[in-house]
Each structure stands twice: as C-alpha cells, then as structure tokens.
C-alpha cells in the first residue's frame, strides 16, 4: 500500500516538473512562484518556508535554477528517487524540443526568408543581452562597493582584451568574494561594521 503511494507520488512529481519546465519560457527565477503555486498551494507537499529554502539554495548553486529547484523539491518529497525523477521531468522538455529543432535546423536555416528573419532576430538578441547587462550592472553600481565595481571592470577587460577564459575570471572573483565574505562576517561578529 505504502509502496503504491510512493510510485504514485513519483509519477505525479514527474508529471508536474515536466509540465512546469515545458511551459516556462526564458527559464530562470520565474520557476519559483510556479512551483510554489503547484506544490505548496495545490498539493500541500511542502510549506512556504521550505519552498523559500529551496529557492535560496537553488539560487546559491551553480547550474540552471529550474534544474536545481527540481532536484531539491524531488529530494524533499520522495528522497533520492524523487530527486532523479524531478531532474528527468525538468530536463526532458528542452531535450525533446531542441532535438526536434536541430533535426529541421539545417534545412530551415538555408532558406532565404528564414535566414533574413534570423538576421533580424540576431539584432534583437543582442539587445536583450545588452538590456540584461545594463540592468545587472546598474544593480551592481547601486551597491556603491568599489571592490565590486573594480572587479567588474577588470573582469570585462580581461575577457575582451586579453581573451582570458571565463572560468578563470569566475574562479578569481569567487576567491575574492569568499575572502570578502569571511572578512565581513568576522567584522559583524566582532561588532564592527565593514
């Protein structure tokens, strides 16, 4: 009886993560409110606080937020098997869609009209990324922390003018960030303000 419940729960977990992943465009943090609605409000599998924890950890880890949140949610609801089922559910929709697209890509891309549309869209994509950079950059400037601003400028210069690998820049900034975090953490504990 209990075993059957477990299977049913896994099946439902798969279906829900699949559907959420299949209908979330652009990805990213949009996934959290959708998951909250389904798993907290509709299914009552977890409470609000647990969902907030999942969101915090999913954001703090490398990789796609959708995938991270699914793993945590699945694990919380049905253990390791749940985690695996949830990953499968959230990865399958893009896997299927992009497989189908890649089948037709070569034929479509050589079409004159499609290639003109894609050329116009490239200008649009460049603008979308530029918009993201401006928004994130402004948020960073607003922190008014000289360290962050210098790191951003150095990172950009290193990547554009010296062809430094992205991983190297991220690791270097991660180390500086860790040092800074530890330093500030200690400062707070000692009653100081840094």
């Amino acid at each position: 009886m209990k075993r059957e419940m477990h299977w049913r729960r896994l099946a439902q977990l798969f279906r829900e993560t699949f559907l959420i992943s299949a209908f979330t465009f652009g990805g990213g943090f949009v996934i959290v409110p959708l998951m909250r609605k389904k798993f907290v409000e509709n299914l009552h599998w977890l409470d609000d606080e647990e969902m907030m924890d999942i969101a915090a950890i999913a954001q703090s880890s490398p990789g796609a937020i959708v995938v991270n949140a699914s793993i945590l949610l699945g694990y919380r609801v049905a253990g390791v098997a749940g985690g695996l089922v949830a990953v499968l559910g959230s990865v399958l929709p893009p896997l299927i869609i992009l497989s189908v697209i890649s089948l037709f890509y070569a034929a479509f891309r050589n079409n004159r009209y499609v290639s003109l549309v894609m050329r116009g869209m490239q200008a649009g994509v460049a603008a979308v990324v530029c918009d993201v950079v401006l928004t994130m950059g402004q948020a960073l400037l607003k922190t008014r922390r000289a360290l962050y601003i210098v790191m951003m400028a150095l990172g950009f210069g290193a990547a554009v003018f010296f062809d430094v690998n992205a991983v190297a820049v991220i690791l270097a900034c991660g180390l500086v960030g860790a040092w800074d975090a530890v330093r500030r953490h200690r400062g707070r504990k000692a009653g100081g303000w840094v």
Binding site: L98, R109, V132, V182
Partner: protein, 191 residues
C-alpha cells in the same frame, strides 16, 4: 566514444561554473563550443541563444542538446545534458545537507555576491560578441570592420533596446518584432 566524453566534460564545466542563473551560462558555453572546440560557428551559437529565448528551458540544457545532436546524434545530446546537470545534482544536494544542519548560507551567499561582478562582466563580453555578429556579421571581435557595418541591423538593435528598457516590452515579443521587421527591410533592400 571520445566525442561523447568530450561533450560530457565540456558541459560538465558549463554546469559547474555557471553561477548566477539565466544568462550566466552563456559566456561559458560560447567558450566551450565556439572557441575551444570547433562545434559551432558564432552565428550558430547566436541562433541557439535566439531559440532558447523562444522555447522553454534553460540556455545550458538547450545548447547541450543542440550541440550534442550535431556532434554525435542522440547519444551526444544525452551525454552533454547529463554532463550539464551532474554538477547541479552533487552541489545542490550537498548544500541542502549543509543547510539542514546549520541553516545558514551566509558565506555561500557572500561568495555569490562576490561572483556577481564576474558574471556581469562575462555576460557583457558575450553580449559584445553577439552585437559584433549582429551589426558587423563578424565571427570574432578581432575581425570587426567598419565596411561591414549593417545600418538596418543597428537601427533594429537600437529600437529593440529602447523597447526593452523604456517600455519594458517582453523579450520574446521584441525578438519576434526584429525578426519580422528585419525580413521586410532586408527584402526591400534586395538581399
């Protein structure tokens, strides 16, 4: 087999180092599939980013599938996607365990805050490559020449940026718009 391992390892690195969500994976993917391995041209990479915006799913998974299929068929797609997801599985579960014991992610979030500048800088550099492609049709920043400047694309770019920033339009709508207007303009220009 070697190709499958290469795909797995490349996207493992993408999964491991893309912190900060969303666009953060873009520069890493570009490095792996355009610069390090001859898997995609810059133009094809830009197409993937475009397609990723129009379809559900994270950019990293979309790219892993697309590149994997092109290099080694369905096994390639599975190897690349598995590589992309594996670091998440390990790290997320470890962090969840740490968190359940101490309920404190302060240091981790401090590190992430420190990574923000790097993430913005990396996305900016990838954005520059995309702009060079859109406005000059050049595959790398080094080959940008003023003679190749595409006025129509520059106007589309400026209009799209204004629509996004001033009128807060939806990115999918904006890109569909530049696609449709681009088609009309380039046909009128006789291209």
């Amino acid at each position: 087999m070697i190709q499958l391992l290469e795909l797995f390892w490349s996207f493992f690195q993408v999964g491991l180092f893309s912190v900060g969500g969303g666009y953060a994976s873009m520069p890493l993917i570009q490095h792996q599939v355009v610069e390090l391995h001859p898997w995609l041209t810059m133009g094809e990479f830009a197409d993937i980013i475009t397609i990723s915006q129009m379809t559900p799913g994270p950019i990293a998974i979309n790219s892993a599938t697309f590149v994997g299929i092109r290099i080694a068929g369905l096994p390639g797609a599975l190897a690349a996607t598995a590589g992309c997801v594996l670091p998440s599985c390990i790290i997320v579960l470890t962090l969840a365990w740490v968190y359940s014991r101490w309920r404190n992610l302060n240091i981790m979030q401090g590190i992430l805050q420190g990574l923000r500048p790097a993430v913005v800088a990396m996305i900016a550099s990838a954005g520059l490559s995309l702009a060079a492609l859109a406005l000059f049709g050049s595959q790398t920043l080094g080959t940008v020449r003023w003679a190749d400047f595409d006025w129509a694309a520059a106007v589309l770019f400026a209009a799209a940026l204004a629509a996004l920033r001033k009128w807060k339009q939806d990115p999918i709508a904006v890109m569909s718009g530049t696609g449709a207007v681009g088609l009309a303009v380039y046909l009128l220009l006789g291209q």
